[in-house]
């Protein structure tokens, strides 16, 4: 009970791990490309939560600076990913990730 009422770094890490797993399941099982990209955002957010929790644990700000860099990457990834999605939709008239099979053997 004591450990339930005292929030430590480990609590944040477990929450981050749960979010990461949700993102991985979404990426692997969904067929809609938009939701796959959203699941990638979930994964990146789990990483950010861990970085900020570690920054709190060690008392420095390096983790927060890294979290800002990860957010920058997420913005770039979303822009490029959604651009690819629009190009894909224009060619195939679908947002189904299973139909991206031109290079499939």
């Amino acid at each position: 009970m004591e450990s339930m009422l005292h929030i430590t770094t480990l609590h944040y890490l477990v929450l981050g791990a749960a979010l990461f797993l949700l993102g991985v399941i979404g990426v692997l099982t969904r067929r809609n490309v938009v939701i796959v990209l959203m699941s990638i955002e979930l994964i990146l957010n789990a990483v950010n939560l861990n970085l900020v929790a570690f920054s709190r644990m060690w008392g420095g700000l390096h983790g927060q600076v890294f979290a800002i860099f990860v957010i920058t990457d997420a913005a770039a990834e979303a822009a490029v990913g959604l651009g690819i999605l629009i190009a894909f939709f224009r060619n195939k008239e679908t947002v189904n990730v299973d139909e991206v099979n031109l290079l499939k053997w």
Partner: protein
């Protein structure tokens, strides 16, 4: 200022985040998924505030919930989702999904139960009133090179997104 009722808010916000995450990966309509993701992002911003990271919390709200999610909603508006909604939502890789999730979850549980003693019980006290100034000093000092590379990455992303979304260049 010492935060009040930390455990209550932690469990409330983490519950919101997990429910939002589950809704993101299970909803049929991508717009509902996007709204659930916004709830998750806002709850996470509140968790950042509890971790004495007000600047990251602000960036999270402005950039993620404000910028990236608007981008997502615009693209959902551009591509027609009617056909996708009538199709099967999950592919045949659910076995691979379950296996990957179990393996990763087992790894996390193993690492965290083995290594939980290395985390200190009480976090260091942190002053928050000059958080933004300190982050700015680090970004423009110690992390100058990474900052420049990030700006280059954003430039490449802008050009790439325009090139790919344009019909004919």
């Amino acid at each position: 200022m010492e935060p009040v009722a930390t455990p209550f808010f932690f469990y409330l916000l983490s519950g919101m985040m997990l429910v939002g995450g589950i809704l993101v990966i299970t909803r049929k309509n991508p717009v509902h998924s996007a709204v659930a993701l916004i709830i998750t992002l806002l709850a996470q911003a509140s968790l950042y505030l509890m971790l004495y990271a007000p600047f990251v919390a602000g960036v999270q709200i402005i950039l993620y919930a404000g910028g990236i999610m608007v981008l997502f909603l615009f693209v959902i508006m551009l591509v027609s989702v009617d056909r996708a909604q009538r199709e099967r939502q999950f592919n045949h890789q659910w076995v691979a999904g379950i296996i990957a999730a179990t393996a990763l979850g087992g790894l996390f549980i193993a690492v965290y139960t083995k290594g939980k003693d290395i985390f200190p019980e009480h976090a260091l006290p942190m002053v928050e009133n000059d958080n933004t100034q300190k982050i700015a000093t680090m970004l423009y000092g110690q992390y100058m090179f990474a900052f420049e590379i990030a700006s280059l990455l954003l430039l490449v992303a802008i050009i790439g997104a325009v090139v790919m979304a344009k019909k004919r260049i």
